[in-house]
Symmetry: D2
Subunit: 331 residues, 4 copies
C-alpha cells in the first residue's frame, strides 16, 4: 500500500508481483511463466490486454517479455550467446505480432542514456558494439553485403537533455522523419523495484519507452504515438530509486514488528493506521536529499559492459546475419 | 603545382598561400592580415567574393576568419580566455553579416567527429563543455535564467557514419526540422596542408562544413543549402593527410636539388618536366597503403582537450552570458 | 545508537556530529568551526589528540580539515579558484605540522579509485589534470623550469584490486621505494553518512587513507606505517552506503513517531527497547541485496568532473608555482 | 641505405627484410617462415643468436615470433579465437625456452601506453579485458578457483611519463619488487616500418621492451636486466613514424626515376652520389615539424579495440584456464 506514494518500477513483471503480494487478481492482464532449470533462465510474459488492465498496471496495453538469468553479468561467452539468442527470439516474436516483416527492412536502434554515468551507459554501450549496415546498403546495394535479404541497421546515441538541451523524442523523431526506418528499437537502463533484479534481467516490450522510466527520466516517451512507427523497448534494470529503499525498510519494519514477540503490539498499531497516517510517515521518512539519488552495485561497470555486449549480439544476430547469397549468385 | 594532384587542405588560409607561393593574384578573393605581436596571435581574414574566386580557391563564396596562436595547446587559463574572447568576437562578426539577430535566438551546436579517435574527437569534446539552456528556457521561461535576453543553446554529437549508418547531414537536418533553431554552428577537426598549423589554428567560416573536409570525410556538407538555415563552421586542424607529407617531400626534394651545387642540374631537369610527367611521379610515390592514413602529433590528446575547452568557452561566453535581469525585475 | 551496527562514514566531521547528537563530550578530540558567510564556505577542524579520542572516533590520531561549500559542483571559475586556494592552504598547513619543508621536495600524488565507475573516478580524474614535473626536473635540472625552488610532482593511478589483482598499498609502496618521494598525497572518493554532504565537502587529513574507507573499500591503508613517509589523504564524499539510508529511515521513523500525536506511544515503546532488541530490528531491515550497493546522485558525472578539477588546481598551485627565477638569473 | 639516417622499426621481421632487400646475409640470425594458406596467417621466427647478429639487427639476442593475419582487425569471433590460440601457443613456447614452469606461477601483465591516444591505447585496453586472479588466490587459496594448478595473474597500467613524471621502468620495478611475480609480460603499441603491417601483425619476443620502441618512446626498457625477471614483450604495430613516410617517398622516387624512360638519367645521377650527399638530401627533406608525429589509419579505434581483445583472450587462455579440479576433490 505504501508503494503508491513512493515506489516506482519500470518492469511490468514487478508491477504484477506487487498485486500478487496483495493477492489481487488483475483483470485484463495475463501472465505466463517458464523456468529453464538447467540454464537457470526464467522467462515471464506479461500481456496487458485491456485499458482497464493498463490502468491498474500503470503501463500501456502491450506485451512485456522478461528474461532473468542470475549469471548475466558473468563473463562466459557460451552462456551469453544463449541469452543473445533468447533476446533475438523475443524481439522476433514481438515483430511478428506487430506484423513487421522481418526481411529487408530498416531499423533504427536508439541507445538512450548518458555515457558518462556508469549505470546509465547501457544504451550507448549497446550502440558501440552494433554492426550498422544502412550506409553500406545505400551506397553499394544489398549485393555488396553478399546477402540475399538485407536489413538496414542504423543507430543513434541521442544523449540526455542536460547535455543536448533537447527532449530525446525531438531528436529521435527528427532522425526518423529524415531516414524513414520501419521500426525503432530503443535500449535503456531501467529502475527496478527490487535490488535483487539488478543486472540480471532484460525486459523487451512492444510498447516502447515511457515517460518517467529509465535512469535518466525521459519526460516524453518513445512510442508509436510520438514517432509514428512501431517502437520496441529493451530495458535492463541497473539501479533502484533511493526512495524505494526507504519504502522497503518500512515494509520490513512492519513485518519485523509483527514477527517479533515483544514488538507485535507495535506492528499491530502501525498496521491499524489508515492511509493518511501512513502517508504522513513516509513523507517524514524520505529525506529530501534522496530525491534524484539512486542505488547501484559497486561492480556496475563490469555488469553494464557485459550485458550491453549481450544485447548488441542479439541485435547483430537478428538484423545483420540474414541468409547468405551463394557465391555464384553474387558473381 | 604538384599539389593539385594530391594536396588537400580545409583551411582557406592555406589555399590562399598556395597561390601566393606561385605569385598568382586570385581574382575575387580579398585577404587581410593582422598580427598582435604581444600576444603572438595572427588573424587572417579571407573573403571569397565571387564565384570565380570560389572556383579558383575550391571553396564556396564566404568569409573565412583564421586565428593562429602558437601557445593554443599550452594550459594557461588567462591566455585561453583571450583566445575564447577572440573566437566569440569572430562568430559575432559573422552573425552580424548573416543578419542573424544575436538577442533571443536559438542555436544548435553540432559536435562532428568520432569521440573514440583522438584527433577526431574535437567536436564531441566541445559539446561536453557547453552549458546548454534550451530545455530550461522551454520549461521555465527566460526569467528562470535571471536574464533579460535569453538565447537557447542546444547541442548534438551525431557520431560518424561508420557508427550510425546515417549521413551526418541526415541526422542534423532531422534535428533542425524538429527543433527549429535559427542557426547551426558545427565544430570539426580539420586536415591541414602544413604540419606547422596543427593545433594552433582555429578557422571560423560562414559557409558551413563542406564535403570531403574534416578528419572523418563527411560525404555531404552541413550548409545553408542542406539545412535551410545559416551554418557557421568552426574548424581546428588536428591532422595532415599522409599523402600531403609525400607531396611535401617532393617539393623539398626539388628545392634541395636547386640549392645544392651538385644537384642543380637534376632539379632543373625535374622542373622542366610537364604536368603529365610529374603526375606519373606522384602516382608512383604515394603508396596505396597511405590512403585513409593521417599524420598527427604524439601529444594530440592534450592538444585536443585544451583547444576544445577554449572553443566551448567562446560559445558559452557568446550565447549564455547575455545581460542579467536586475534582481528587482525578477521579483 | 543504532548507528553502531550499520553506519559508516569516512568523514571525521560526521563521526563528531554523531556524538554531538547524543550530547556526548568526546575526550581527546578538539573541534573548531569557522563559517565564511559571504562565500558560504564552512571550515571544520577536528583534531584527534589522544588514543582514547581515536578509539572513540574510530579514526587515528591526527588532524582532519573539512571544507564544505554548497556550490562546489557548480561551474563557476572564480569560485572554484577560491576553493582551490583554500585546499592548497590546508595542505600547506598539514605539511607544516608534519615538518615537511615545502621548498624543493618531491611529492607523489596517488589517484585512488576506478576510472570506470563514475562516483569512484575522482582520484583518476584529479591525476588527469595535474602538471607533473618530476621527469623534467630529473632530465634538465630545476633551472629548466625557470624557477628557483622546484618541487618534483609525480602521479600514479594504481587502479582497483579487481582490475590489478594487487592491493593498492603494494603498488604504491613499490613505487615509493623506487622513486623516493618525501610525501604521498592520496585522493579518494569517500562514503558519507549524510546524503546532504555529497559533492560539497572536501576532507584533508594528515593520517592518510584507511582500511575500509572510500567507495572501493581498500583493504589496507595508505599511511605513514605502510609507506614509510607522511601521507596526506584528500577525500570527497560521492556516495552514501545503501545501508546508511536504511538506518536513516529508522532514525526518522522513531523521530516521526515521537512528534506525531497518534504514534507517540509507539515511539516511546521503541525507544525503551534495549540494544539487543534494536539490533534484531536492523538485522531484519537491511536486505542482504543491499550489501555492496551505494547511493549516488544522478548528476554525479558533472559533480565528480568539477570537484576533481578544483583539487587538481589546488595541487598545481601548491607544488608547481613556486617563485619564478628572474629572467636574468636564468641566462 | 638511406634508412640508416631515418628509419625505425620495432619489428625484428622488418629489420630482417631490410637486409634481404639488400641481398645481405646476416650472420648470427636465423629466420624461419611458415604460411598457413587456408587461414591466411603467416608466422615468422627470427632468432638472433650471437652478439654480432644483435649488433647488425640493432636488437638484442633472443627469439622474435611474428604472426601476420590480414583480417586481424575484422570482427569475426571464430577467427580471433584461432589467433588467440596461436598467440597463447607462442608465449608458451617462449616460456619453455626461458625455463619458466608454466604451472602455478605468478605473472604480471604490464599494459604500456597512453589510454587517451587511440593508437597508443593497446596496452591499457588489453589489461581492461584480463581476468586477474592473484588477489583471489592470495585471499582464498587456489582451491577457491576450483582449479588444481593455479597461476596468479596481476596487471598494471603504469601510464606514460608525461602523465606520471616517472619512467615506466621505475613504476614496474617497484611493483615487481613488492609483488614478486615470476614473469612480466609487457604489451605495447609499436611503430612499423611499412604501413602495410599496421594492425595485422603481432610480435612476441623473449627480450622484453626496448628503449625507443613503442609509440610512446620509453626511455628505458623493460628487460631481464632492468627488472630482474624474464620479460616477454608483445607488440602490435599501430603507427608508422612520419619520418619513415618521407624516406619511403625517397626510395620510391629513385625507383620511379630508374623505371621511367625520361627520368632514367636523373635516377642514375642520384644513385651515383655518395652517402654524405644523400644525407644532405634527407636532412633537407624531413621537415622539423614532422618530429614527434606519426601516421595512423582512420579506423584505428576499431582496430586497436579488436586486436587488444584478441591478446587479452590469449593471456586469459594461457594463464587462467588451467586444469579444473574435479568436483569431488574440491569438496
Amino acid at each position: 500500500m505504501l508503494e503508491k506514494y513512493s515506489v516506482r518500477t519500470d518492469l511490468a513483471l514487478e508491477e504484477k508481483e506487487r498485486f500478487e503480494s496483495d493477492n489481487v487478481e488483475v483483470q485484463g492482464v495475463v501472465v505466463e511463466e517458464h523456468y529453464d532449470e538447467e540454464r537457470e533462465i526464467r522467462i515471464t510474459k506479461v500481456r496487458i490486454e485491456t485499458e482497464k488492465g493498463a490502468k491498474t498496471m500503470g503501463k500501456p496495453v502491450g506485451t512485456y517479455l522478461t528474461l532473468e538469468a542470475p549469471n548475466m553479468a558473468v563473463p562466459d561467452e557460451g552462456y551469453h550467446r544463449e541469452i543473445s539468442e533468447g533476446v533475438a527470439g523475443f524481439i522476433g516474436e514481438l515483430l511478428a505480432k506487430q506484423k513487421v516483416e522481418q526481411k529487408e527492412f530498416s531499423v533504427l536502434i536508439v541507445g538512450l542514456g548518458n555515457r558518462q554515468v556508469t549505470p546509465d551507459a547501457l544504451g550507448p554501450y549497446v550502440v558501440d558494439n552494433l554492426c550498422v549496415t544502412r550506409h553500406i546498403v545505400k551506397e553499394y546495394g544489398k549485393y555488396a553485403m553478399g546477402l540475399k535479404d538485407v536489413n538496414m541497421l542504423s543507430a543513434i546515441v541521442p544523449g540526455v537533455m542536460g547535455q543536448t538541451g533537447m527532449e530525446t523524442v525531438e531528436i529521435v523523431r527528427g532522425v526518423v522523419n529524415e531516414t524513414k526506418p520501419d521500426l525503432v528499437i530503443a535500449i535503456d537502463a531501467l529502475a527496478a523495484r527490487n535490488s535483487r533484479r539488478l543486472n540480471r534481467t532484460i525486459q523487451i516490450a512492444d510498447t516502447g519507452i515511457h515517460p518517467g522510466s529509465g535512469v535518466g527520466n525521459h519526460r516524453r516517451g518513445l512510442t508509436k504515438e510520438t514517432l509514428g512507427i512501431p517502437v520496441i523497448g529493451i530495458g535492463v534494470p541497473t539501479v533502484v530509486d533511493a526512495a524505494t529503499i526507504v519504502n522497503d525498510t518500512m515494509e520490513n519494519l512492519i513485518a519485523a514488528m509483527e514477527s517479533s514477540e515483544t514488538l507485535k503490539s507495535v506492528g499491530e498499531v502501525l498496521r491499524s493506521y489508515n492511509a493518511a497516517e501512513k502517508y504522513e510517515f513516509v513523507r517524514e521518512l524520505i529525506s529530501p536529499h534522496l530525491n534524484g539519488m539512486f542505488v547501484t552495485p559497486k561492480d556496475i561497470d563490469e555488469m553494464v559492459k557485459q550485458i550491453s555486449y549481450t544485447i548488441s549480439e542479439a541485435l547483430n544476430l537478428l538484423f545483420t546475419n540474414t541468409e547468405k547469397v551463394s557465391k555464384e549468385q553474387q558473381e
